[in-house]
Symmetry: D2
Subunit: 216 residues, 4 copies
Amino acid sequence: MRYGLVGANGRMGMEIQTAMLEAGHTLVYALDMNHEETTGIPEVIIDFSLPLVLEITFQKVKAFNVPVIIGTTGFDIAQLQAIKTMAAKYPVLQSYSFSVGVQLMLECVEFLKKKTEGWDVEISETHHRFKKDKPSGTALMIRNQLGKDAPIASHRLGNVTGEHTISFGALGEVLSVKHAALSRRAFADGVVLASQFIISKKPGLYTFKDVLSQQN
Amino acid sequence: MRYGLVGANGRMGMEIQTAMLEAGHTLVYALDMNHEETTGIPEVIIDFSLPLVLEITFQKVKAFNVPVIIGTTGFDIAQLQAIKTMAAKYPVLQSYSFSVGVQLMLECVEFLKKKTEGWDVEISETHHRFKKDKPSGTALMIRNQLGKDAPIASHRLGNVTGEHTISFGALGEVLSVKHAALSRRAFADGVVLASQFIISKKPGLYTFKDVLSQQN
Amino acid sequence: MRYGLVGANGRMGMEIQTAMLEAGHTLVYALDMNHEETTGIPEVIIDFSLPLVLEITFQKVKAFNVPVIIGTTGFDIAQLQAIKTMAAKYPVLQSYSFSVGVQLMLECVEFLKKKTEGWDVEISETHHRFKKDKPSGTALMIRNQLGKDAPIASHRLGNVTGEHTISFGALGEVLSVKHAALSRRAFADGVVLASQFIISKKPGLYTFKDVLSQQN
Amino acid sequence: MRYGLVGANGRMGMEIQTAMLEAGHTLVYALDMNHEETTGIPEVIIDFSLPLVLEITFQKVKAFNVPVIIGTTGFDIAQLQAIKTMAAKYPVLQSYSFSVGVQLMLECVEFLKKKTEGWDVEISETHHRFKKDKPSGTALMIRNQLGKDAPIASHRLGNVTGEHTISFGALGEVLSVKHAALSRRAFADGVVLASQFIISKKPGLYTFKDVLSQQN
């Protein structure tokens, strides 16, 4: 497919370019703070930039009349409302995590929590020393999915990209699910899947979970 | 419930007695090589003994007219046929693993294999140094569930009861499910669940997977 | 060797009997709350019982004129002083952990802490749900060995015997040392080593670390 | 310090530039296939390039009259001989791994192997799917350090940079040392240490192990 990318030269932008190229897709529109380049008509716009760019992104979505994927985070309430309004007319996919593995982990948690009544549950996460928040947002997502106030142990070690483990323990056994993000590539691969998903959809607000639910 | 136990003083038999007692169940019939004791009418017979005892176990099942759980392994074809024949008239639950965690792991594998096309898969298992077979039967069950010729790495270390890990790897992430059996207690707890399951069933051949499918 | 065991029928006592037997040693004196049996002259007395038994143990040590190994914990100050006094005349080995692996782990920590200046350090421990204290005593020993106020994450899962991990993280790598106790057998094997160590020693107070320092 | 870098724009070259910059060192000489830039007199030359460049590197070492660090691999016997000859007149540091953690792991192995007679030993390594060789060179280094024909299990998963685990197992416990390389940064940090080490040394052939032995 032909795609447009807002925030094309950011860290995630570069990673998305690599992943989309390997999947056979062509960048035909790129927008950055000081650069705009159009070499074709995109079939989808992908935005991994800053909240203040949202309005510009939406102008482009309207101009090209295409679906949009939003990976930017940190929107205020008015912007989140604008995203909903936009979704009434265009297919909009917004998510806080484009990692396939994290979504699969959450689905395992959903399955396992029903089958492990009376088991102990412990969540553990390890991230790089620069990460300020404890626990991580993904650890909170896991606990939220679990629907139970499980303890979360947070480790800050060197430059670890991100690891999450949830362990269920009974008297005779322990069952654990562990996710390790190796690099931003994990998230870029998720954006590729999201692109392939959204281009054939009707207007509406979608999440990354919808992308995976449709597969198989 | 009141239960009978064939192989009552074996290693698994002792463990089952402890787990059943904690769950509030009463041993009313015990059979061992040199000992038989009846203090009541059992509602179910549990057999963790040797293949050659099967016929005796079936006589007791008929005498008490109750369901039977078979955890004994190593039956020959004629015996497996006898089990099927028995299942036409009595509820019979036979399984090679009564670990809840192993079954849950297999169900996670079933779910994940559909969602991870193109990912690498590796299976790893660690057992005590006395274990002769490589890879373990459970590792083979995992590979069978996966439906794919994944590599299995087998480790033999000290007195490890049994650990199995299946890892799915994409370019940016690794997702793993790990099961650690801490002791035979894992399996005894499964037998308790199986007992509670089988006593209300119609005649037929059941497995441990059926026990868990019914829960939620 | 021929050995005596105070607390012979306790959980650790039973485990020690098994390990000593496999190592070719013979129990010739056994003492329990309601039982005393002498079938020979011991070359060493091993005490895994209760603090209040200490005086009786010391009477036997004097009577047989042999070294003593003390694995009992919870002594008061007067008792600890009595142990020191005893050590002036007899070889006395006292330790809070007879696990070879835990000692080796502590020695790795001692080595690594000098080589990892500026690295992050995190300690993690997992024990059974019945363990009341958080963090574990061994985790505190690891932190003490480290000489640095490292975070300790404590997990309580099912019936896990005891696992401790210490991880050192730099920007590009993580180095971890992990110890998993599989059963009380770990500690019983340490008692065997301690017995072989103490029988040839001069009077004095020894620890389990001395046992391992002497090997190789 | 001021340093020169041969293979400056390669993957490792870029990583070294980042690490050296953060450590306060200045790149004053850069050589690549199609580019040479001199902005000062280096105090050390670092070579992470290709074997065929070795001769040119040595010319520069002579011209600047400085020590050299060689991280390039794949030399033939004549080239290895040339390195030795060079070391008679210049401080030369050559190593197959500049990871501090891998060296520390090897030193733990050296220590532990003497203390774990009769224990089982298993080595395990995980790398990205593109890695052709099995087992990894580092796994072979670990086995070599162990001095024993321990089994090595190799896993190939997604894009894992590199993980190595060595586990020692007795009947009651398992002790493991695990190293995870998070990125080439691990190796770049080692090069920084090596630079600081080599600039004050007399002529001779040094390895990365010498760098770490000197610390503390």
